[in-house]
């Protein structure tokens, strides 16, 4: 089961790690994936300032699936904003269009998304 952070008064809580874009930029794709999943498996909620690339998101799904087990980890809940603009063109991509998006990732059994649209994500995090 996820490890809970204990406060001085003994009450359980949820640790939230906010990771800067600069910190993530120093990592390779697989280092990012393992960094995220290691944290989430410990019961942390990880907030990425700049999110992941589509390829990294695909890898995250694949690696998450390999780590799911019936006696503990049931996967991740992940939320980021949908893209607002239509598909970027070839020139946008080679000119380095900024596609970063703040992303929240946590244990599937501890985060429940209440509402999501292009401008708002509302979620409940529990310390189960």
């Amino acid at each position: 089961m996820p490890e809970q952070v204990k406060h001085d008064d003994g009450e359980g809580g949820v640790q939230i790690d906010m990771i800067s874009a600069g910190r993530m930029d120093e990592m390779t794709s697989m280092e990012k994936i393992h960094f995220i999943l290691d944290g989430v498996r410990e019961g942390k909620v990880v907030i990425l300032e700049a999110g992941l690339s589509p390829d990294e998101e695909a890898k995250l799904i694949e690696v998450t699936m390999t780590e799911i087990s019936p006696d503990g980890f049931s996967g991740i809940e992940i939320e980021s904003y949908p893209k607002e603009s239509p598909k970027s063109g070839f020139l946008d991509r080679i000119l380095g269009e900024d596609e970063s998006k703040m992303t929240v990732i946590g244990p599937a059994n501890q985060i429940e998304t209440l509402h999501k649209d292009s401008e708002l994500i509302s979620a409940v995090v529990s310390a189960r």
Partner: protein
């Protein structure tokens, strides 16, 4: 990806269209679990080959291995397109065996189904990375389309420059809202459809021929 590689791929894609080396495009049917992917795959396969592709079920993750139907020739308005249709397992970021227990499965069967489901999701992602030339993305139009799986998967598909056709499925349901799906993915063509009842299949086949032909 380097600029030269990107230019070469872009030119190659323009010249070759979406067709694989053997001239047949491989179209993946993707989407979240229980969106009606296999029902749609069966509808297409039955309509054009006379044979179904796989078992359908109300229990999520019924399809746990990708299934391919080769050489499905769709004819519309004097044009024809021959496709390999790949029905893929529903993509999710979580699989909890308790969900299957809640559907009445015993615990051992639920754990086994859960294990197979995780392998199925990974397999679906692998097909998308390696072996798919275009995507039919299926959504249950009675549900909120603004989920992270939908956001991520459509983003992944777009980043790979694969043509995509969105299906607003299950329009036979009372609370279906294909308009909501159209609004959620304005950059893509959306076809309202009932794969189960066969409603609006004429438009489906027209759009398939247009998009993947």
């Amino acid at each position: 990806m380097g600029i030269i590689t990107e230019i070469r791929n872009s030119i190659s894609q323009t010249v070759n269209g979406i067709f694989a080396d053997d001239g047949t495009a491989r179209i993946g049917i993707y989407g979240p679990p229980n969106a009606g992917k296999t029902t749609l795959a069966n509808r297409i396969a039955r309509d054009w080959t006379g044979e179904a592709m796989g078992a359908e079920s109300q229990i999520p993750h019924e399809t746990r291995r990708a299934q391919r139907k080769e050489d499905v020739t769709i004819e519309r308005n004097g044009n024809s397109v021959t496709l390999d249709i790949v029905d893929t397992p529903g993509v999710s970021t979580k699989v909890d065996y308790q969900e299957f227990v809640d559907f009445g499965m015993d615990e051992d069967d639920a754990i086994e189904r859960s294990r197979e489901a995780t392998e199925g999701v990974a397999e679906a992602m692998h097909w998308l990375k390696e072996d798919i030339d275009g995507v039919i993305y299926v959504l249950d139009s009675s549900l909120d389309p603004f989920t992270q799986v939908n956001t991520m998967l459509t983003g992944i598909i777009e980043s790979r420059d694969l043509p995509i056709l969105i299906i607003a499925n299950k329009v036979d349901l009372e609370d279906a809202s294909p308009q909501r799906i159209d609004q959620a993915f304005p950059q893509h063509e959306t076809v309202p459809l009932s794969g189960l009842e066969g409603d609006n299949t004429d438009e489906l086949y027209e759009k398939i021929a247009e998009q993947f032909g």
